[in-house]
């Protein structure tokens, strides 16, 4: 590697590592009592920590499932049958970037309240499922782009026709032929959705839900050391989640020509940093 490369890499690494390292150091301080894990113990003993984390993980899983169920067939169908409206779909999926989260959440509330019967208000609008609905909207831009990148790498037209000529139904074609070849893209989309929900603060806070990011903020405004410890834990969790998805993606790579996940993730990284809802 040339010198310039090493220099750039070092600067880049420092940019990301220094804040994390100082946070780790700060989280291990115990005032005048030197260094230790007191802040971590305090966080891990707090039942709120486990409750909010579990709540956020649940929300993330639900959002991921709903988004995939909605978007995978949509993107497939748009590519297969309606390639002309692709720019329109693309534009629509960008809208959540343009609409500020506060507008999104208030708008969604008013929209659903305006026509919902009582039972729907109870079971949906005033329940945590409402958050899931908002998060599905929020993750659209990322999910659409990850899936779009993956589907472009595959000749879905020919594969679909080949499967159909062999007698396969649409459902079988989607699950046996198309999805396995979009594995990396789908995993990338899942990871992005998961991470977005785990980090989303604004909507949850406005809608008065105690999610993990809301909990972090509450702690952060009151207790300095535990807040640092919490941040470190949260960064660690994100890394673990990313690693799990990467390993899942790698497992399928032996069979395939190109790793699509890497490409999709790189493409997403830029987009993710502009996430308006991220904490």
């Amino acid at each position: 590697m040339p010198i310039s490369g090493i220099v750039v890499l070092t600067i880049g690494a420092l940019y990301f590592l220094v804040p994390v390292a100082s946070t780790v150091k700060f989280s291990l301080e115990q005032g005048h009592a030197g260094f230790g894990f007191q802040a971590y113990r305090q966080i891990l003993d707090d039942p709120q920590f486990r409750h909010t984390l579990w709540f956020s993980v649940q929300l993330a899983l639900e959002t991921t499932v709903v988004t995939m169920a909605l978007m995978v067939p949509t993107v497939y169908w748009v590519h297969l049958r309606l390639p002309k409206i692709r720019p329109v779909v693309e534009a629509i999926t960008i809208l959540p970037f343009v609409v500020p989260p506060i507008v999104l959440v208030v708008g969604l509330f008013d929209f659903f309240k305006s026509f919902s019967p009582d039972w729907l208000l109870q079971d949906f609008v005033f329940s945590s499922k409402f958050l899931v609905a908002a998060y599905v909207v929020l993750s659209l831009p990322f999910v659409y782009r990850a899936l779009d990148a993956g589907i472009r790498a595959v000749d879905i037209q020919t594969l679909t026709e080949a499967a159909e000529s062999l007698g396969a139904s649409r459902t079988r074609t989607l699950f046996r032929v198309i999805l396995p070849n979009l594995r990396e893209a789908v995993l990338a989309a899942c990871l992005l959705t998961f991470v977005i929900v785990l980090g989303e603060f604004t909507i949850a806070s406005i809608a008065l839900y105690q999610t993990f990011p809301v909990y972090i903020t509450t702690i952060g405004s009151a207790q300095a050391y535990p807040a640092a410890a919490l941040t470190v834990i949260s960064v660690g969790l994100t890394f673990v989640a990313a690693a799990v998805f990467l390993v899942l993606g790698r497992m399928g790579l032996r069979k395939r020509r190109q790793p699509v996940l890497g490409a999709a993730m790189t493409g997403m990284a830029g987009a993710a940093s502009t996430n308006p809802g991220g904490a």
């Binding site: 026709e161 000529s165 007698g167 032929v177």
Partner: protein
């Protein structure tokens, strides 16, 4: 009784007429090629047979049953695509087994059928390889085995060799024909490569701008093109603008040279016609100062290109015509560039079309 019938198929894309009324019928076990330049409608016709496209009007009948409105997955048609149609997530064997799984064949029967088909296409050693571990030619063999495994009623091939190397192309087209004959399956083969179509087919349909120009055996298509397009599209053809000179004995006037051509007998004298002549029908004589015997076209060799067994000569005739002649390469040295020659051809070797 015909097995596969196309009745007056029409298909319009906006203002572009892809098919303007195509009718065809194939006997069971017949191998028919749709041959034509890109955009002529041959692929549209194939996709309509497969069910991927709906015709604006017309019918597709297989074995007496109208299939026009059946979905592609209910037609029992095997299809081989241009390239890269194997499922990348499955091995060769799994690809071939796919259609059988859809049909719920029991495991043992299925495995036997998969081995049988992979053996037929000569890939018994590659059953567990994924598509990316196979060469282009091997991938197309698997695709063929996959299409045939389901015992389809009709086999459709959409330019299956166009992405392959020249040598593999020749091997594989012979292979396709062998397998087709062995299994006796009714086959429609789409290609823009005339050599491919002529070498493997029972019959060839030359397609041009949405219609069938000529339908016939390869020998008929090559030897007796019935339209100007077919004459130009198939092989190399000399086209000589001429006028009927003698309607009884059969002779034409090619820019002032009277040449015997049997095919003009019975046409009115003075009629403008196009005389078609294959380069291999031409016999050359060198002309070294002496005056030529009548009935030959005098000219000069302007270019020579070596094609292997034959050498192709370009000849500029004194009467203004341009001619192409093939001579055996062993004797080609006599016809170097700027050598004066006399062009003759048997009176029964030329075809005549109306201008």
């Amino acid at each position: 009784m015909p097995y596969l019938e196309l009745h007056d198929l029409r298909k319009q894309f906006g203002s572009f007429t892809a098919l303007g009324g195509v009718s065809l019928s194939l006997e069971e076990g017949e191998f028919l090629s749709l041959l034509g330049p890109s955009g002529c409608g041959k692929t549209t016709a194939l996709r309509i047979i497969a069910g991927f496209l709906q015709p604006d009007s017309g019918r597709v009948v297989i074995g007496g049953e109208d299939m026009t409105s059946h979905a592609p997955n209910r037609r029992d048609i095997g299809m081989v695509f241009q390239a890269y149609s194997l499922f990348p997530n499955m091995t060769a064997a799994q690809n071939v087994a796919f259609g059988l799984k859809v049909r719920k064949w029991p495991g043992a029967k299925r495995d036997a059928r998969v081995s049988e088909l992979l053996e037929i296409v000569g890939l018994s050693h590659a059953v567990d390889r994924y598509p990316h571990q196979l060469s282009g030619g091997m991938q197309q063999r698997v695709a063929l085995a996959r299409a045939l495994a389901i015992e389809p009623r009709v086999l459709l091939l959409d330019e299956p060799l166009s992405a392959l190397d020249a040598l593999v192309r020749v091997q594989l087209r012979e292979e396709i024909r062998r397998v087709q004959t062995q299994l006796g399956i009714t086959t429609v083969y789409v290609t823009h490569d005339q050599e491919e179509a002529l070498s493997v087919s029972d019959r060839v349909a030359v397609v041009y701008s949405g219609g069938i120009e000529q339908l016939g055996t390869p020998a008929e298509i090559y030897g007796a093109p019935s339209t100007r397009f077919v004459a130009e599209f198939i092989g190399t053809m000399n086209r000589l603008e001429s006028r009927v000179a003698d309607s009884e004995a059969g002779a034409v006037d090619i820019n002032g040279t009277i040449v015997p051509v049997d095919a003009v007998r019975g046409r009115p004298a003075g009629q403008d016609v196009l005389v078609l002549l294959r380069p291999e029908a031409i016999a050359l004589e060198t002309l070294n100062g002496k005056p030529p015997a009548p009935g030959g076209i005098v000219g000069e060799v302007t270019a020579q290109s070596f094609l292997g067994a034959v050498t192709r000569l370009k000849i500029a005739a004194e009467n203004g015509s341009e001619l192409i002649a093939n001579v055996p390469s062993t004797g080609a040295t006599a016809y170097s560039v700027s050598q004066r020659v006399v062009v003759r051809f048997p009176a029964d070797s030329a075809r005549v079309l109306d201008v």
